[in-house]
């Protein structure tokens, strides 16, 4: 089991869209599950003028904090495919136990990427309980340490886009389940989630693409 979670140092953060693009370039035929901020930004990369990638599942509307569980179900159903899930730090805090569930299920084809900006951006940018500025004791929440404690086979954490870009291909090929914490910048006040197509239509297309 390989654990390599860098620790310490002042918190920097990378812009969200380029951070996602690093995965977009390397996804291959992976299923990609997005929610909240990632669900808003990822389609900008993935549409390429021809509509959403058929193996994207934009989990909107979602159950709070449950994107990793939906993605885990897909990973267990389709062990021959890689499944990548983007989750927010607020969503992660809502369901930390799922880190243990992922490991217990033995989902070797599963990558969970937490986009950590310390905020509930969709509700106007309030700090999460895990953000340093919201904690009496100070210090931001160490999701990578949680994942390592839960037993993820590969755990990484990046604050600089260049470091993430240089490592992503290798990380995505390491033994799963994999966990990546990316410190990302808030997108800003103009937060808007565009309404996706009706769910039944999206599910039909997604399932057709899986066949």
């Amino acid at each position: 089991m390989a654990h390599d979670a860098p620790t310490g140092g002042e918190r920097a953060a990378m812009p969200l869209l380029p951070a996602l693009e690093v995965v977009h370039k390397r996804r291959g035929n992976a299923i990609v599950v997005t929610t909240m901020g990632a669900a808003r930004e990822w389609p900008k990369l993935s549409t390429e003028g021809v509509g959403p990638h058929p193996l994207d599942f934009q989990y909107l509307p979602s159950a709070m904090g449950h994107a990793p569980m939906l993605a885990l179900g897909l990973a267990l159903a389709r062990p021959e495919r890689e499944v990548i899930c983007f989750n927010g730090d607020g969503g992660m805090l809502m369901s930390l136990g799922c880190l243990v569930t992922v490991v217990a299920a033995g989902a070797h084809n599963f990558t969970l990427i937490v986009l950590d900006n310390g905020l509930y951006e969709v509700t106007g940018g309030q700090p999460t309980a895990g953000a340093a500025e919201a904690k009496v004791g100070g210090g931001s929440c160490d999701f990578a340490a949680f994942a390592q404690g839960a037993g993820f086979h590969t755990v990484r954490r990046y604050a600089k886009l260049g470091d993430w870009e240089a490592s992503a291909a290798e990380v995505l090929a390491l033994p799963g389940p994999r966990f990546v914490q990316l410190f990302t910048q808030p997108v800003g006040a103009a937060y808007h989630l565009p309404a996706p197509a009706p769910m039944a239509e999206r599910i039909q297309k997604f399932q057709a693409a899986l066949e």
């Binding site: 449950h66 179900g73 136990g97």
Partner: protein, 160 residues
């Protein structure tokens, strides 16, 4: 109410591939049979809400899961249940242990609220009160699948 072997037989007949569960002391007696059954994969969750969205992902991926939890877990799972049944529109199956139903004098609040909660979510369910109803489980779930609607079985329990 039922042995693990009986439940495995029902689940196998239904073509169930994954049992996504968090057991109580009644359901937990099925663990050895479920864990050793050919063709059934047991997925253990940390909190019942997880079970619904894992089952949703399995269903989207072409499998046939069932969620098995206690009524207290049903209470915990509200947002996930709402999402998979009403946002995603998936006709998932579940078997829910009805804590304290078989204890006539019980003042357990879990007994009091189980059926009202299901009704509040506008979910139909089959209540299993006697061992003779074993075959009703498969019939009910198959009928729900044919109608493309949620299939929920509420199984009476004594203690939790």
């Amino acid at each position: 109410m039922f042995t693990g072997a009986q439940i495995v037989e029902v689940f196998t007949k239904l073509g169930i591939t994954h049992v996504v569960w968090l057991p109580d002391s009644t359901l937990g007696t099925w663990e050895p049979a479920l864990a050793s059954a050919d063709g059934l994969q047991l997925v253990r969750v940390c909190r019942e809400g997880e079970a619904w969205t894992i089952a949703a992902g399995l269903h989207l991926g072409g499998k046939r899961p069932i969620v098995v939890i206690q009524s207290t877990g049903l209470f915990e799972s509200g947002d996930a249940l709402r999402n998979v049944y009403y946002d995603l529109g998936l006709p998932l199956w579940s078997l829910i242990g009805y804590r304290s139903y078989l204890l006539p004098d019980s003042r357990d609040s879990a007994k009091r609220f189980a059926e009202p909660i299901l009704k509040a979510w506008a979910l139909d369910y089959l209540l299993i009160e006697r061992p003779e109803q074993l075959s009703d489980i498969a019939a009910h779930l198959e009928a729900c699948a044919a109608a493309n609607k949620p299939g929920i079985v509420l199984m009476a329990e004594g203690k939790g």
